[in-house]
Symmetry: C2
């Protein structure tokens, strides 16, 4: 693997510095001496070097369903559009849909993504090929297929957990309380104990889901999940839009991690998660795009921007969610939210997951405070270099691991094959 | 002027078609025959051709202040950061700040912008040079300078109104009720009558502004402005965040046009304008970026996205503000909001203000409903060609009328010269 010196960018958390990468790790953060030899030097004057962006929640293969059904109520959207297509999904669909997602994510500076879907091994294969870091789960829901889902989860873990030099992490994915109630959840937790895996789950995404939980259990989804023992495991809870103060206390008490997905929550009419309150309670909150079918992008710059903007507007307080915090949520806090130990910061010894952003652009001029430039003004298209585990995945506008033209073609073909 | 045939894009409001441009106007929307001769043919397969995006509210020269003061309460932001800098502004600052804004706007597919600021003739000169369509006003506020502001407004109108083949329109710009109360507003309206000009004004941007109006006048800013006779003129009201049902009825009764500026309203903690209610009342509502100091971009794709997303999330209704409506607000309704007659649609005989968006990108794949692709997934960086009055301002990633490198340099220099 080639050693790389990134010369002179502004480095998040450090200031202007050189960053050297050797053997997939960050070997230097400081000033490179004239004697220091690297195979390659990337001149990064006027650029910002960020820990790779971390997309904490999504369904990569759902890029196939991008824009096939917008502006619909949730029920017909799911029942008439998404579910019939998902019923016809094939492994090939998931492979190419995932690859398409990764082409978009890498272009937008994302180095790590979390995922919950079907045929998840295909997403693992695509991540392996694309070189991304991935935290993957096979969705598990009650019903005739649950034993199959549990079996596939086990096989996925046995075959893929910590594969790709540790880039691939497997989690268990009970879909949500309303699809995987306590009795079935118990089987999932037994498997989590046996395989020593963390879990990801959708929690309190919609008001209706919370109302249903109160009607059925007399308490909120968070309270039911606590009682079911879920939070004794490491858990990433996606959405948490409709959580009460009591719910937040429960989540904080168990150190549950949260993925805030502002664009998807707006687009589906779910609402706006009380992120400032969650952060105040000490929760680890990362950011996620959710699937492209409810976004319709996988653009962490947009999620970061909305995380910074929305709560100011709702609370009438322009000091809430400052730029540096939004950037942290998109990077280091996101890595922590996914229980990853050795990425998320630009520090010597950590894995070299890095995103370079060119600030020499009209919409980022005049040159100013870099956190603000990134959180409020930079775009996915300003990303000029992306590296995961020290390997360059994007440079000079080209993806190095993905055949982009073929991927677009195959994704289109796969969608047509399962459409009516 | 060269004639141009744009071959085969999806055309907003039409479907797939060829669009021919001659003498600055749209000469064909349909199928170009083999005999039709054009100086140039632009192949636009898989692209979307939009009426040029219209930025209905802003302060172009404030790009100079992008990111110099974020995450602050409004009062110290204005009093300690923005106003001291504005007090030292020079004509040169405004020229280069405006030019920088135009570099960003053209790159993002914007063909027309509205503006209110000081040294507005410099913005006119820059717009003339850049080839953009512009609706410009010199801000007018009560105080020792008001007569000067009125004089400059008159001179601006006499010298620049309908200049540049009609690309430049001058309006009068009473800043807001709280800075230009009824007595002073009367002088502005007299001038509007004399010069036959429309007006632009900030209205009910913040809660505090509305409370102050009730304390001082016993009624809302909208009601006070109505009583002062403002709405007997063609008026573009920016923001309208804190407007009541009664206010909306007044605005609708006088056919006042509105600029919705969602990003700025969120960032400054002002709130979210009741746009669905305004549209339901029949108001013409365009979209605007406001100044880059409170955004921090001039990106109409982002404003369009937020216009489509925000109200769904607030009202828990994913069917609100569908994609086609958001696109309309960013284009045809925006042109109407600025009282422009001959742009905003792709129709034969109208002026050729056109924006070409390349949909052949991973984040826009698979190919799907174009309104949704544009409102929910396209980015400023997908714009590949921009034309105003039939003249190409952006192509192959290059601005044809603006020296971008110099503009970035001069803007930076101008800012440094007025900083502490």
């Amino acid at each position: 693997m080639k050693s790389v010196l990134i010369k002179g960018p502004w480095v998040a958390g450090v200031g202007t510095a050189d960053v050297g990468v050797r053997d997939g790790k960050i070997a230097l953060v400081g000033t490179a001496g004239p004697q220091d030899k690297y195979d390659r030097v990337i001149s990064a004057d006027g650029c910002a070097l960020l820990p790779g962006l971390v997309n904490c929640h999504g369904h990569a293969a759902m890029t196939l369903f991008r824009g096939i059904a917008d502006d619909l109520p949730l029920k017909p959207w799911l029942e008439e559009k998404i579910w019939p297509l998902e019923a016809r999904l094939t492994a090939e669909c998931v492979y190419w849909g995932s690859m398409l997602a990764m082409a978009e994510m890498i272009r937008g500076g994302i180095t790590t993504f979390a995922d919950m879907y079907f045929f998840e091994e295909e997403t693992a294969k695509a991540a392996q090929k694309a070189g991304m870091r991935a935290v993957l789960s096979r969705g598990i829901a009650a019903g005739p297929n649950i034993n199959n889902a549990l079996l596939e989860s086990r096989q996925l873990a046995e075959k893929w957990h910590q594969e790709g030099d540790g880039r691939i992490t497997i989690q268990l994915g009970p879909h949500a309380l309303y699809t995987c109630p306590p009795q079935q959840l118990t089987a999932v937790l037994d498997l989590a104990t046996e395989l020593d895996l963390a879990l990801q789950i959708h929690v309190s995404e919609t008001k209706g889901e919370v109302e249903e939980s109160f009607a059925r259990y007399g308490k909120s989804p968070v309270a039911v999940l606590e009682e079911a023992g879920l939070f004794q495991f490491p858990v990433l809870a996606a959405h948490c839009v409709h959580v009460s103060h009591e719910d937040i206390d429960i989540l904080a008490g168990h150190n549950v991690h949260v993925s805030h997905n502002p664009v998807s929550n707006l687009k589906l009419g779910s609402g706006i998660a009380p992120v400032p309150q969650m952060l105040k309670a000490g929760l680890v909150v990362g950011l996620g795009t959710d699937g492209a079918s409810s976004n319709n992008n996988l653009d962490m710059f947009l999620e970061m921007r909305l995380a910074a903007l929305l709560h100011k507007g709702i609370a009438n307080d322009p000091t809430l969610m400052p730029a540096g915090l939004a950037l942290e949520m998109a990077t280091s806090m996101g890595a922590k939210a996914l229980f990853l130990q050795d990425v998320g910061y630009i520090q010597e010894g950590l894995k070299a997951d890095l995103t370079l952003v060119d600030l020499n652009r009209p919409h980022l001029s005049p040159r100013h405070e870099p956190h603000a430039a990134i959180a409020y003004a930079a775009k996915a298209s300003d990303v000029t270099m992306v590296m995961v585990d020290g390997k360059i995945l994007l440079e000079d506008g080209r993806l190095t691991t993905i055949d982009e033209e073929r991927t677009i073609y195959e994704a289109q073909r796969c969608l047509r094959a399962i459409e009516d």
